[in-house]
């Protein structure tokens, strides 16, 4: 039976969160603090607000539960849960970026990967169509990829300095 030792995390705005050790050590940063014996009192996390910390804990709890034998959740369900978890934050971009910073600071690789991929997808989704009202020619679809990559120098020059 896994140890059910509780760890207290304190956010930057002074709120305390009590979590099981197994959930807390999803964060490598916290894991090392515990190993270095800094966890007797609350662990202060000056870089993470309570709003974000709550979300991080929610994520970690789900992932820890998902891997426990009794509540075994299969990969697809977990991915679906992740997608729903992150979708809320796409609406609120600031939260999403704060989550990235928190996942980085707390060193939670899976959350960092999830959030970074989400932002990458958002960027990808916004790139087309290229606004080319000031480019005076069209290009064929076959060459589109190529031309877009190579034209960027010329486009960059025009766009950044000649408008």
């Amino acid at each position: 039976m896994a140890s059910s030792r509780k760890i207290t995390l304190r956010s930057s705005d002074g709120e305390s969160f009590e979590v099981e050790e197994a959930v807390a050590v999803e964060s490598q940063t916290i894991k090392h603090m515990i190993e270095d014996d800094c966890a007797d009192n609350a662990i202060p996390l000056p870089n993470v607000t309570s709003k974000i910390l709550a979300k991080v804990i929610e994520y970690c709890k789900k992932h820890v539960d998902a891997s426990k034998a009794e509540d075994r959740v299969n990969d697809e369900d977990l991915k679906a849960w992740d997608a729903a978890f992150i979708k809320v934050d796409q609406v609120d971009q600031a939260t999403l970026f704060d989550l990235i910073l928190a996942a980085n600071y707390l060193n939670i690789k899976s959350l960092l990967d999830l959030t970074c991929q989400t932002v990458a997808d958002m960027i990808k989704g916004n790139l087309f169509p290229v606004r080319n009202e000031w480019l005076n020619f069209t290009f064929s679809i076959a060459n589109r990829e190529l031309v877009l990559v190579c034209l960027t120098e010329w486009v960059a020059h025009r766009r950044l300095f000649c408008s």
Binding site: L106, A120, I123, E145, L146, T152, E153, V155, A156, L160
Partner: protein, 528 residues
């Protein structure tokens, strides 16, 4: 290997003592960008000349270094930094906007590293388009390491390097396009401040400072007997530079680019994560100007091109090679190493607790070695040794941490190893190597009677599956090896253990592993 970026320390103009920051850098990824200022005086700015003031900053340091030290750029440095300046300059500029931030919009609160990680998830086309969005994105999306990854993913080792990774990508993936007509316009962007991007460019273009190369305190020996070598160096585990033991190597006369390219025609050698033909690698190494150039490091060159194996022989001191009892199942043990000036290996301990020798055939290498119980400044091994966090590039280590070694009591062993010289690297020693010019070398790791017991202990450790390297059969290597040694040299292990006990009883010396405190010899992994 975890890599973190340490930044140039806070500046000062005249000889002023700066207060110690007293800050410990924890080398986790999240900590990668501590904010420090770096200073560049505009009046001194000339093309290809950068005057930057350096100050020691790390935990061990006692006082600020006096005087102004300049950094000199390599004469071929391209202005690919697009005029990027370090963050400290922002505070000295007349207007206080950083186009880095204004150009990133909502993304500006992310660190440079996180942003680059996100950009690393995009395709080439997407990166190209994103570069037109703003000056900030232009600089980030032209960050060469991003394009290097794209090339290696898309083309593996089959690329013909063409001035920059970005144009290499276009040339390789869209061959019908005339890359010559597109180039790096090298747009100069005047109000972009970023420590990460600036330092990346600086480290790539830095010349090694003469004082980093001055210290040469290794013991040099020529023509000593094997017994003397064992007694004075192998037994006490001390490094030594051996001269004259490559006399008679055909490689010394024959090996040059043309010979190797001809002899190895079509053969692919391990270069980081990919495999490349020699001519392609040389085409790359001639042009590259990077922080961490790709390094040719092949563990199977003898099998791939047997003729090469005939051009050299193991120096007489290292002939006892106990892993050979395993035959074909032995871990990787010999490598050919080729790399341009600036390439090299950052601090590590060799795998499986073996000892090593490294022979330079052409070129020259700067070595910095620390004994097993002394962790080099700026290097942070995990408690079990499986992971090592260290500065992103060798130049960065020299800029930020080399100075710390001057005031340490236990100074590192340093030397420049030139063509025709062989360096002995005792087991467990931390070492770092940088090529001062294009170099070709051969290195072998080996187990002799002196470190047999240590190696067996190492292979027996509970986390052998992560630490043991160079073989696919990590878990069973210990048993296999022990059995094979017993078979070929019955009684040897027992005899060695008796001798060790006798010695220990005499000296009450702690065992090798007990004496290693925070630098337990760890796994050897190159990460690229």
């Amino acid at each position: 290997m975890l890599r973190f970026r340490t930044l140039l320390a806070s500046p000062y103009r005249k000889r002023k003592k700066q207060p110690k920051t007293g800050r410990k850098t924890r080398a986790t990824r999240s900590d990668a960008v501590p904010r420090k200022q770096c200073h560049r005086t505009d009046e001194l700015r000339q093309p290809h000349q950068l005057e930057t003031v350096e100050q020691e900053e790390e935990e061990e340091e006692a006082e600020a270094e006096d005087g102004e030290l300049g950094f000199h750029l390599k004469s071929s440095a391209r202005s690919n930094a697009h005029g990027v300046q370090p963050l400290g300059n922002l505070f000295l500029s007349p207007n206080a906007t950083n186009s880095r931030n204004t150009g990133l919009g909502a993304l500006q609160n992310l660190t440079d590293e996180l942003l680059l990680e996100i950009l690393g998830l995009l395709s080439a086309t997407q990166l190209g388009i994103l570069a037109t969005v703003s000056k900030s994105f232009y600089i980030f999306c032209n960050h060469e390491p991003l394009w290097r990854n794209l090339v290696l993913e898309a083309l593996g080792g089959d690329f013909s390097f063409n001035r920059s990774w970005k144009s290499t990508y276009v040339a390789g993936c869209h061959p019908s396009f005339d890359v010559g007509s597109v180039g790096d316009l090298g747009l100069e962007i005047r109000d972009f401040y970023s420590d990460y991007v600036f330092q990346s460019w600086l480290c790539a273009n830095l010349e090694m400072k003469p004082e980093w190369l001055e210290r040469d305190n290794i013991v040099r020996k020529r023509g000593i007997s094997v017994e003397e070598f064992v007694r004075s160096f192998e037994e006490p585990n001390k490094p030594v530079l051996l001269e004259g033991c490559m006399d008679g190597w055909l490689a010394l006369e024959k090996w040059n680019r043309d010979y190797l390219v001809k002899t190895c025609s079509g053969v692919r050698f391990s270069v980081g994560p990919v495999e490349m033909r020699l001519e392609d690698y040389f085409c790359y190494s001639d042009q590259t100007r990077e922080e961490r150039p790709l390094y040719l490091f092949d563990p199977k060159f003898g099998e791939k091109v047997p003729v090469l194996g005939l051009d050299y022989e193991v120096p007489v001191y290292f002939r006892e090679d106990l892993f050979s009892v395993l035959g074909n199942e032995r871990p990787d043990y010999r490598w050919i190493i080729i790399g341009p000036s600036g390439s090299g290996s950052s601090f590590h301990i060799d795998p499986n607790s073996t000892s090593a020798w490294n022979a330079v055939i052409t070129g020259s290498k700067k070595w910095v070695l620390f004994p097993p119980d002394v962790v080099p400044p700026g290097v942070h091994p995990s408690p079990d040794g499986a992971e090592v966090a260290c500065p992103v590039s060798i130049n960065e280590w020299f800029m930020n941490f080399y100075g710390a070694t001057k005031s340490w009591k236990k100074k590192p062993v340093e030397c420049i190893c030139k063509a025709g010289e062989v360096i002995f690297v005792p087991s467990g020693w931390w070492h770092m190597v940088i090529n001062l010019e294009e170099s070709i070398a051969i290195t072998q790791n080996y187990v002799s009677s002196r470190n047999l017991l240590n190696v067996l202990d190492f292979l027996k450790k509970p986390n052998a599956s992560t630490l043991v390297s160079g073989t696919r059969d990590r878990v069973n290597l210990h048993d296999k090896f022990k059995k094979a040694v017993e078979a070929k040299f019955p009684g040897k292990i027992d005899q060695l253990m008796l001798e060790a006990e006798d010695k220990a009883a005499l000296q009450k010396k702690p065992s090798f592993w007990d004496s290693v405190t925070d630098s337990k010899a760890g796994a050897f992994t190159f990460s690229f």
